[in-house]
């Protein structure tokens, strides 16, 4: 019984913090923040085309709200809320994609530098060395087979 109380308290605290995070994300959501996250993800090497499409859908919702021309939302508040939700999702997805792209890029760089480059250098060095030896032995053989002719 005594062990259950701290467990339940921690769960409640976790739920509360999760809902607070969600609210603060909505407050912080903005097109500018989403643009910056998308750019960061793109610089890290992620494919951001889907995020860009979502962003433009959200911009269209804001446009509908501003012009009171409601096609895919019902009112000013509804349009803005939907747009903000999209911006939050974009910002979160972009952060995730940035991290994934950075990990993938670092791994690829390490493989290129640690595996492909030494293997390529080794193979080229072996071929080069053997070719040089073969050329040299042919030169010696040619020299040995030379005949002195009297003019």
């Amino acid at each position: 019984m005594y062990n259950l109380i701290p467990l339940i308290t921690s769960i409640l605290l976790l739920i509360a913090s999760a809902s607070t995070n969600n609210e603060s994300n909505l407050i912080n959501a903005s097109p500018e923040l989403a643009v910056e996250s998308i750019k960061d993800a793109q610089i890290a090497g992620a494919d951001v085309s889907d995020l860009v499409s979502s962003f433009n859908i959200a911009l269209d919702l804001i446009d509908q709200a501003t012009k009171s021309n409601f096609n895919s939302c019902s009112s000013y508040e509804d349009c803005n809320e939907k747009a903000m939700q999209i911006f939050v999702a974009i910002t979160n997805d972009a952060h995730l994609m940035k991290e994934q792209a950075e990990v993938a890029s670092t791994f690829q760089k390490s493989v290129n530098l640690g595996v492909y480059a030494p293997i390529t250098a080794f193979i080229v060095a072996v071929i080069g060395y053997l070719s040089f030896k073969e050329w040299k032995s042919r030169q010696v053989k040619r020299l040995l087979e030379m005949e002195i002719k009297k003019k």
Partner: protein, 211 residues
Amino acid sequence: MISALVLSIKGALTSRVFVAIFVSLLAISLSVTYVASESRARQSFLSINTLGSDMTMENYYPGETSTISVGDNVSWHINVYNRMGEPEYLSVKVKLLNSTHQSPDVAMNLPSPELHIFETRQLLMNNSTWTIPLFWKLTEVEKQGNHAVIKSLNINGIDVSDLSIKSAGGHNFRMVIELWRYDRQLGDFSFAWSSDSDKSSVWNQIWFNVS
């Protein structure tokens, strides 16, 4: 044959010449791989052009001349191209000016100080074109002596009123189309942007008369 090759390779591995060749090639290979993995600088730019009703550089006006009357439907297409190397958050601002209003200044990278009558925004992927249809018509033009004064117009279905753009004889009105880009450092849209070592800006204008 194979055993001879294996023997040659074994001999190669113990040779000082081979080690010297391998170390040199490894250094070159690592350098090339590192340089290739770094992003290369390319020429970056944004461009804008305005086309007529049939997406060509013709048919900008409803009639044969550049004179537009109240109620005439004008159809243009603005094309914006992004080659900045990353997605750009762009804004196109349309301004209605007469010949005495100050134009944007490309040398100083300054926009026209006049207020815009229409604005649209889009996040544009690198190496992509954004086409903005621009349908507009004059809804109210007032005659004041020798002058024609544009009082209101409709642009992409939105009424823009409270205008007072005046021109003698109804000549030399113009639509100025400016391209603005979201600047991360500034935290706002900016008319100019840095490309390579220079600052750049782009804009278009189309002249028309009013009857």
